[in-house]
């Protein structure tokens, strides 16, 4: 086994690797860029080497610097984590040439698997089913149309290089082929400097199922069951679980065998993942093999009880696998949610800033793999994933409920996160039923908001909590004045019944509190006729988190005062609750609807980043919702849409320009 390894990564995965190394007594060397000089992974490692400026090309993607850092610190092996250099054959070669060990497969295997065409050929040779389609890049649309006629529409145009859905196009009829192919080529050329595109059958209602395999250098191969990662947004996984509700033991065995055959055929060594797409009839087809540790590996670890990083290290050190296939057992169900710094209400744009509050959930069966802590800075340079929250229960429903509870208690402030979004995914009945497809999010969500209105019961609980907070806060002011009454006079009678009207978007609730809530005692609260017994906690207003015991069950809420109102986050609901006294509510009917406060004759930059493209020119007519500027931030390109219908009066930015949040990008002339 190694004495010391270098971790060529950052964030949660670097920390996760350090944790195993610490347990095994292996020394760790972290590398860090300028932006990460105060980051958690740097400080948790035994040693740390500064490898350059913040952009990843100048640090985490700089092979020479990383290999030099390993040599300089005497590290014997390098763990690449995921992303960055983890699937770069050049990196593997450089490590080998430097006399070090890559904790991963050999360079040749990475090479073969990194190309969609060669990997597909290899799968075919191993007898693993692949999606019907071309195995060679197509020449032009004529050829594409001919092939499509053979394998049947709809078809998918798929670039040979890259990933993340870039350049993919679905074509449903021959007439659309030409435009789709041109668009696909353009995109893939820009992203990967490669124009090879191939055609395959497009699988409707697909599920993403992947098999974790382990192979040692002695040729032993085992699989650790499947993970289902169908919940994706723009080909980025959001929620992953193991096992999959769609996979029977018999199917697991078949898929596992296929994955192992593939690994053997490829002479694979170390941990890898074989990704399959599965159709509604449970036919599965090989997609690709990821030659590294996956982001979602913890769900497999929780159901198998294994430490994949430890096994990776042992395999890389030349040890044989300590068990065979019969030694792999599965226990319970694990679901993982990826927590990202992004704003679902604004088209999932990345969010940057300092984490001003951080409280991760804890408890039995709850695992948090986090790369950040309070005070951490989220920069534009790296991907937006902050942490992973994994819950392990006896059944899928157990795990789902635990995860929802844990997410309700996950408190991050300073940057926007997708916590409420993933919670609302988990709360959907279709998710609970396991009716997943990779189109799940598009099907059930519109702009980050669930198309289905939240359950009335959840809304009522949130309204109840909001009212209780509002009431307690109001009473606190009265009490603060009591001792001064001799000086300043005034009435003190509070009455026994306290009635409120609570508005939450179009829902209206009547809430009545009986008596004065005293912490430690139980209070009766009525909401629209139903009665609830609530144990009154001590209200610590600073915490902005509240645990309430309602009718004997614990609920966690995140709360935030917004002017006179309360913003509640609970079970995927993230809404403003307006608590009014009956008299205020009576008067509210005379109040004009809040006018849209946004400035609508300018386009403001929603986040700091780099202008990749400007899609409109002065004098051009544009429409609300049309993308006018493409920004790159945190490795993500996103469009900035026009807030209005109008004519562009002035474009204030150029391609390649760095822009700050709230900078004016475009001015409009409005149509009267």
């Amino acid at each position: 086994m190694f004495n010391k390894i270098l971790i060529a990564n950052r964030g949660e995965i670097a920390i996760r690797i350090i944790r195993t190394c610490n347990r095994l007594g292996i020394g760790t060397v972290a590398v860090y860029s300028d932006a990460d000089s105060r980051s958690l992974h740097r400080h948790l490692a035994d040693e740390a080497v500064h490898i350059g400026e913040s952009p990843s090309q100048k640090s985490y993607l700089d092979i020479a610097k990383i290999v030099a850092a390993a040599k300089a610190t005497g590290a014997q092996a390098i763990h690449p984590g995921y992303g960055f250099l983890s699937e770069k054959a050049d990196f593997a070669k450089a490590i080998q040439e430097a006399g070090l060990v890559l904790i991963g497969p050999p360079a040749e295997v990475i090479d073969v698997m990194g190309d969609k065409i060669t990997s597909k050929e290899l799968a075919k040779n191993a007898g693993v089913p692949v999606i019907p389609g071309t195995i060679e890049a197509i020449k032009d649309e004529k050829e594409a149309i001919a092939i499509a006629a053979e394998i049947g529409y709809p078809i998918l145009l798929k670039p040979a290089a890259g990933g993340g859905g870039k350049g993919m196009r679905i074509v449903r009829k021959p007439e659309d082929m030409k435009d789709a192919l041109a668009a696909s080529r353009k995109e893939t050329l820009k992203a990967f400097n490669d124009t090879r595109v191939f055609v395959e059958r497009y699988i409707e209602q697909p599920r993403h199922i992947e098999i974790q395999v382990l192979a040692d250098s002695q040729g032993h191969v085992v699989h650790l069951g499947e993970r289902e990662c169908s919940i994706q947004r723009r080909y980025q996984k959001v929620i992953e679980e193991s096992p999959s509700p769609a996979v029977s033991p018999e199917l697991r065995e078949r898929m596992g065998r296929a994955a192992c055959d593939l690994a053997r055929q490829a002479k694979y060594v170390n941990a890898g993942t074989v990704e399959f797409v599965m159709d509604a009839q449970h036919n599965f087809y090989f997609l690709e093999m990821n030659t590294r540790l996956q982001v979602e590996h913890p769900v497999t670890e929780m159901v198998t009880g294994l430490d994949l990083v430890e096994l990776q290290l042992r395999i890389a050190a030349g040890e044989p696998l300590p068990f065979d296939q019969s030694g792999v057992t599965f226990n319970g169900w694990a679901i993982e949610a990826r927590i990202c710094a992004e704003d679902p209400t604004r088209g999932f744009i990345p969010s940057t800033g300092m984490i001003t509050r951080y409280a991760a959930p804890r408890g039995k069966g709850i695992r948090v793999d986090s790369g950040v802590n309070i005070g951490g800075k989220i920069d534009v340079y790296y991907d937006s994933m902050l942490a992973k929250l994994i819950c392990h229960g006896k059944t899928r429903e157990d795990a789902r409920r635990m995860l929802i509870e844990a997410l309700n208690g996950y408190h991050i402030e300073g940057v926007s996160t997708n916590i409420d979004f993933v919670t609302s995914v988990l709360c959907l009945p279709e998710f609970a039923e396991g009716a997943l497809t990779t189109g799940f999010i598009d099907q059930h969500f519109d702009g980050g908001v669930s198309k289905r209105s939240p359950s009335l019961q959840y809304l009522q609980l949130a309204a109840l909590a909001a009212t209780l907070i509002y009431h307690t806060r109001t009473v606190a002011v009265r009490e603060s004045l009591l001792h001064m009454v001799s000086d300043i006079g005034g009435k003190r009678d509070l009455g026994r019944m306290h009635q409120y009207k609570v508005r939450c978007q179009e829902d209206l609730f009547e809430v009545a509190l009986e008596g004065t809530p005293v912490s430690g005692e139980t209070c009766t609260i009525r909401i629209d006729g139903s009665t609830h017994r609530v144990e009154i906690p001590t209200f610590e207003f600073f915490r902005r988190r509240l645990k309430l015991n309602i009718n004997g069950q614990n609920y966690r809420f995140r709360i935030r005062f917004e002017e006179s109102f309360i913003f509640m986050s609970f079970n995927g609901i993230s809404r403003l609750f307006e608590v009014y006294t009956p008299k205020e509510w009576e008067m509210m009917r005379f109040m004009p609807e809040k006018a849209d406060q946004s400035l609508n004759n300018i386009l403001l930059c929603p986040m700091p980043g780099l202008v990749v493209d400007v899609l409109a020119q002065k004098g051009e007519r544009v429409f609300r919702g049309q993308n006018l500027v493409i920004l790159e931030s945190m490795k993500m390109e996103s469009g900035v849409a026009s807030p209005v219908d109008g004519v562009i009066a002035e474009v204030l930015v150029d391609k390649g320009q760095a822009v700050e949040a709230d900078e004016v990008l475009i001015k409009f002339e409005l149509e009267k």
């Binding site: 509050r357 951080y358 300073g414 004045l481 207003f541």
Partner: protein, 517 residues
């Protein structure tokens, strides 16, 4: 006998009903249609339920000298007293449905009566303004009446808190009463304030401008600084007034109420250790610090949209109300300019008048340079803030967060103008000026005669930064009471406030100082 008595009761009932009917149902509907509440509805929301005691409901308007207008019972304003969260306050609420809420002699006398009582009793005065201005038909009497109100506003200033809530028009001379009061709230889209209205502007300067653009809530909250708070509608405005009052003492002899938000005094916040960016040219948001140290993260910002390079407002530490004055590095790097000096100066004087301890959070690179500022009187305006801080006798604590350069540092409640206790974060840089300017002045010759002036400049800047860009030199000289870990800021502030609780300062006898107004 009984019959006569009954008749008297009936008369009383009838008169009260007449006064309550005010301008009539039609005008009331009109008011609602404009998105405004009536004067009486506003008081119902402002005051605790059932606490309102009305005065002068039967007071009759003096009638027009021209004899054309009808006289109204109550004369277009409702006055009296009631309680807010159990605390007594005096109120007047102008009734736009009666002669457009115009101010006549009787109307003004009613207001003056409650103001006199408020000062006698020591309770806050809250005015809800919705008035077309002076009642022209009453001529000089109306003008004289304004004078009486102004006089009382000034007499009450610094004795009881005075709050104005502009919920409709407020034009002409009428604007000066709110502007003397301590805080002005304005309701968006339904209130405006100006000395001369759009029609006069048109006649005199030929400019077309709407009431909203000339004197709406947004303009006054961001450009002129007339409005301290803006609110979406009447209901929320009255809530906000109640919230502001909760921070304040009832008069200058009392202390603000202690509000327990169950927030531990020794709570630390590790995030603060990371707040200051490693590069001193990078900005950060001072609000993070403010919300971190205050009880319950609750902060009521005053003038939030005006001179955003300085932040002023109320919060609580250990339950006690404090006035916070903080430079905002995220806006104009936190420089002091004319507006910022005025804004903070007035806020400091309010706190001092009402026994509210002052805390300054300092990150100031200096005064704003340039002819605009110099010719606009940065010398005069900066002096206001200097005067206000220096004069304040309430407990004064200063925390130097990062930059504390030159005169601006002195002005910001520094030890040198006798703040009681000052702390510095390890990131503090106390110096006459920033590294670049200083290096250029000190090593001018050396830099310009060098082969590579930039390299020499950088080297000298670095040297200067090493020497001065830390709080330790100042601490050695005793100018800093302690250099603290950022995470512990809250507990240091609360302990020091407890220590300063019984602070007494007596200056020389004088009528009053001469603040450079």
């Amino acid at each position: 006998m009984d019959t006569q008595y009954n008749t008297t009761l009936e008369t009383l009932e009838r008169l009260r009903a007449e006064s309550r009917a005010a301008g009539g149902e039609e005008k009331k509907v009109d008011q609602h249609r404009k998105g405004k509440l009536t004067a009486r509805e506003r008081l119902e929301l402002l005051l605790d339920s059932g606490s309102f005691e009305e005065f002068d409901i039967l007071k009759l308007g003096r009638g027009s000298s021209l004899g054309e207008e009808k006289s109204y019972l109550g004369d277009g304003v409702i006055t009296g007293h009631g309680s807010i969260d159990g605390r007594e306050v005096f109120v007047f609420s102008q009734d736009f449905t009666v002669l457009g809420g115009s101010l006549g002699e009787a109307h003004a006398q009613k207001i003056c009566k409650v103001m006199d009582l408020a000062v006698k009793v020591g309770a806050p005065i809250i005015g809800l303004n919705d008035s077309g201005g002076a009642r022209i038909q009453e001529g000089v009497d109306a003008l004289a009446a304004y004078g009486e109100i102004f006089h009382r506003n000034v007499r009450a200033s610094g004795v009881v808190p005075q709050i104005s809530c502009i919920m409709g028009p407020c034009a002409g001379g009428a604007v000066y009463s709110p502007s003397i009061t301590d805080f002005v709230f304005m309701v968006e889209d339904s209130s405006y304030m100006f000395v001369t209205g759009p029609s006069v502007v048109k006649t005199v300067t030929h400019q077309d401008i709407t009431s909203e653009a000339l004197g709406g809530a947004k303009v006054h909250a961001s450009r002129s600084g007339v409005a301290h708070f803006t609110v979406h509608n009447d209901v929320l405005a009255l809530r906000e007034v109640r919230r502001l009052i909760s921070y304040l003492p009832s008069n200058n002899r009392l202390r603000a109420p202690i509000l327990d938000l169950s927030d531990a005094p020794d709570r630390t916040d590790p995030a603060l250790d990371f707040l200051i960016p490693s590069n001193s040219n990078q900005t950060y948001d001072m609000n993070v610090l403010i919300h971190s140290i205050l009880d319950g993260a609750e902060f009521m910002e005053v003038h939030a949209g005006f001179a955003r390079n300085i932040i002023c407002g109320f919060g609580r530490l250990g339950g006690q109300t404090v006035g916070l004055v903080a430079n905002q590095p995220a806006v104009l790097a936190g420089v002091l300019d004319n507006d910022a000096s005025f804004k903070a100066g007035r806020f400091v004087r309010f706190c001092d008048a009402f026994n509210i301890p002052l805390i300054s959070l300092v990150d100031v690179p200096g005064f704003m340079p340039g002819p605009d500022q110099e010719h606009g009187g940065i010398i005069r305006h900066g002096a206001k803030l200097l005067y206000a801080f220096t004069e304040a006798t309430v407990p004064r604590i200063s925390v130097i967060i990062r930059k504390a350069y030159g005169g601006a540092y002195l002005v910001m409640n520094s030890k040198h103008i006798h703040c009681d206790v000052n702390y510095a974060w390890p990131t503090a840089e106390i110096a006459v000026m920033g590294p670049k300017g200083a290096a250029e002045v000190i090593h001018r010759k050396e830099i310009y005669s060098a082969e590579d002036p930039e390299a020499v400049l950088n080297e000298k800047m670095e040297e200067y930064r090493r020497t001065f860009a830390n709080p330790f030199l100042a601490a050695q000289r005793g100018y800093i009471d302690d250099v603290i870990f950022p995470r512990d800021t809250r507990s240091h502030l609360i302990r020091t406030l407890q220590m300063l609780d019984s602070k007494k300062t007596k200056g020389p006898d004088r009528k009053h100082g001469n603040i450079p107004l």
